[in-house]
Subunit: 153 residues, 2 copies
Amino acid sequence: MKNERQTEESQVEKFARYLQTNGMKFTKERRIILESAFATHRHFEVDDLLFQLRSNNKRVSKATIYRTLPLLVRSGLLREVHDDDKHTHYEHIYGHEHHDHLICLNCGKIIEFGNPIIESLQDEVCKQHEFTPVKHRYEILGYCRECVGKGHP
Amino acid sequence: MKNERQTEESQVEKFARYLQTNGMKFTKERRIILESAFATHRHFEVDDLLFQLRSNNKRVSKATIYRTLPLLVRSGLLREVHDDDKHTHYEHIYGHEHHDHLICLNCGKIIEFGNPIIESLQDEVCKQHEFTPVKHRYEILGYCRECVGKGHP
DNA sequence: TCTGAAATTGAGAAGCAATCGCAAAACAGG
DNA sequence: CCTGTTTTGCGATTGCTTCTCAATTTCAGA
Ligand SMILES: [Mn+2]
Ligand SMILES: [Mn+2]
Ligand SMILES: [Zn+2]
Ligand SMILES: [Zn+2]
């Protein structure tokens, strides 16, 4: 298991470096949002952060959260995840192995999977089409074991 | 190449069957929307249909289009496609081989690819997790050859 | 430590796709 | 035709996200 403290410092450093490189300032609001985003180890959305911040008596406006999350994405700390909800979810990528998702259409459970063979086939597909990949969305939607057991098709 | 006329009739029949099975009526509005959706062979969105209908002097309200497209999806004629736009796009699936997409982040071009090996590996992943797949989203985002040629990263 | 140009924030307004409520219209079976 | 049901159109509404702009904060340099 990783050293939690060291990991967190690295996240801060990485974000600070990104901001500085782009002439942006590392404000206390951005720090609060960064910490909040990494306080959980699950997928989260804007309202999760808002709720968490209010529970801790931290004040950051919703607008600032909406402005900061894309910065965390561009800095390589987070990525967007598209569940079956209509609004955007996020997850950590910094310090995590790349993976994709199985999403239960009934209970919403998310199972993570990583398959190196698929990833390399994917690279081949891109080469065949002379396409330079940047990222991908790969979500398999269906029913988890529990929900199938309960009769969900 | 397929017989266009026969294919279209089949689409109508399939939709009619779906509607009847679910106690719904095959109204002229639904027929107009179905025909409009299959008049193009590209991905399309609600506003594309609206524009096309107005060009042909057909009147169907936006609300009805929004109500009908999900029916066309459930009946197995269309599926949703998630480009990098924020609103929903659709494409035909009835009478088309399954495929996924490479999407250019610069020019928006969409390249379709089908890879049976990936699809079967995907089935294996689901089996390993005792997950019953229904559908998947698989989009690779990056830059097409032309855009890379023009210096886009 | 002080200063000031530049960046950032907060609060609410605005934008926009998508959905909803409801009265009028269309439909289908008898 | 009649009658119960479904569907439509329209406008209003929702919910997420972005925008506007005055007030505040930041930080490099004096
Ligand atoms: Mn994940
Ligand atoms: Mn396609
Ligand atoms: Zn489930
Ligand atoms: Zn391109």
